[in-house]
Homo-oligomer: 265 residues x 2
């Protein structure tokens, strides 16, 4: 998908988000001017892929790009933006949870460009499915963010910081915590000589089902049926694993309260 | 996929598992003799689809089928198998967590035929991806179960009841509890006027990633980084939701203990 207008974009960072986003913007036809990274090897490698200049001294960042994207760790947004020369273009961070005013106040056009997805180096990202949340002070900057995102995804949402914070929290609950449950399950199976791969079809179907059926309709299992006999036997299997038993009990209570016991919350 | 040998099979139950499994066995070329269901309408509908006889009086079940599959609720296994005439063929239940000896002792050839998947009426099941766990006393019956499953899936595992119980528990933790986390996330987003569909790509990617990367390698997020600043701010957003805050705290602690604090468990 080619963007209608080609913009000049520079990227701070050479990690997972910088790499995937940089690639996607480059593929969409934007001109990636510079890539800055603390790790020179990574910055060089990414810059080469994006036909950009690798920068290792942040004071050399060109202040006149249309958009400078800070795809860096949350805690570096403030300090790194302070080290930058004054940027005339729009400066956007990509963090789900941080205020755009953490970008140093000398930059006048502060923005957020947040792709809601989990990024892994080894896996390609299909940005056409990724929602982009954008924020800026001025309508012109919102329009610029919208045009940049439009080359990547049809799903672009102008959000408030309150909405973005809840989104980030919801993303942690579903993605990070589901993955933690996969770790728990794998540990249980390992102990009994069973391969985690037997759960793969179930994991995938559980996620796919939630895309089609409201998860409240799609809930199944002993807690959904308030099947205390099975719940007790499950807990007995976890007798020597107090931390996992506690997770089991709490998630079970949540489901029972949701369906059987609505006064509890 | 056609089975090498066609067997005569009857089915007790007309719910989700009975429907999906019956269809798959019928498609694989087996002869579905009878379908019994408490709800006459459902039993008739399923029997018609499977070119079988619908039975509403359990004493009329033909005792000479190769396999009688009890795809009924866990608690009905004992009582319903007691009401059956003595079955000469193999009697298998499909429950993840129940002992095959819950099948009434008058039936000599008790077995388990457990497809590890979550079943929904509205969604087709690709059985070729579903692992089947089988148990029986006699080698001949194990072979029969294996041949029945082989028409549906390449993944057939002879299990012990201990393994099956852990599998069932692990399935609950990953599938039922992940879905409960989706419910939590949806409630949070609803409150802020955001549509749950913005999380769909993330849910799907999280599951797909776990099929390729060990979930222990694939863990990301604030707890993985032990980012206490973000964790505290997330908890502040949950101040008026004690039950969700507790889930957040416990899952976060599990992840932190897994990566940062190995002495805690």
């Amino acid at each position: 998908m080619k963007a209608a207008v080609s913009y000049s974009v520079s990227i701070l960072g050479a990690g997972r988000v910088a790499t995937h986003l940089g690639n996607a913007l480059f593929q969409a036809g934007h001109h990636i001017v510079q890539v800055y990274g603390r790790n020179p090897e990574k910055a060089n490698a990414l810059a080469e892929k994006l036909n950009a200049e690798a920068i290792h001294d942040i004071s050399l960042i060109n202040p006149d790009v249309a958009m400078l994207i800070m795809a860096v760790s949350d805690d570096a947004i403030g300090s790194l933006s302070a080290e930058l020369p004054l940027i005339n273009g729009c400066v956007a961070h990509t963090a789900g949870f941080r205020d755009r005013h953490e970008i140093n106040s000398k930059h006048k056009r502060k923005a957020v460009f947040y792709p809601l997805q989990t990024f892994t180096f080894e896996r390609e990202v299909d940005f056409s499915k990724v929602p982009f949340f954008i924020e800026a002070d001025e309508a012109d900057d919102l329009e610029l963010l919208r045009q940049l995102a439009a080359g990547l995804s049809p799903k672009i949402i102008a959000s408030t910081i309150e909405q973005r914070r809840i989104l980030h929290l919801a993303a942690v609950m579903t993605s990070n915590f589901s993955n933690a449950l996969y770790i728990v399950a794998k540990e249980l199976l390992d102990e009994y000589g069973l391969d985690f791969s037997v759960l793969h079809p179930l994991l995938l179907e559980t996620a796919q089902k939630a895309l089609e059926v409201d998860p409240r309709e799609g809930q199944t299992g002993p807690a959904r049926r308030n099947d205390q006999g099975t719940i007790e036997k499950h807990l007995k299997l976890l007798e020597d694993k107090p931390q996992i038993a506690e997770i089991y009990q709490l998630m079970t209570n949540y489901i029972i309260n949701t369906y059987h016991n609505k006064t509890n919350e």
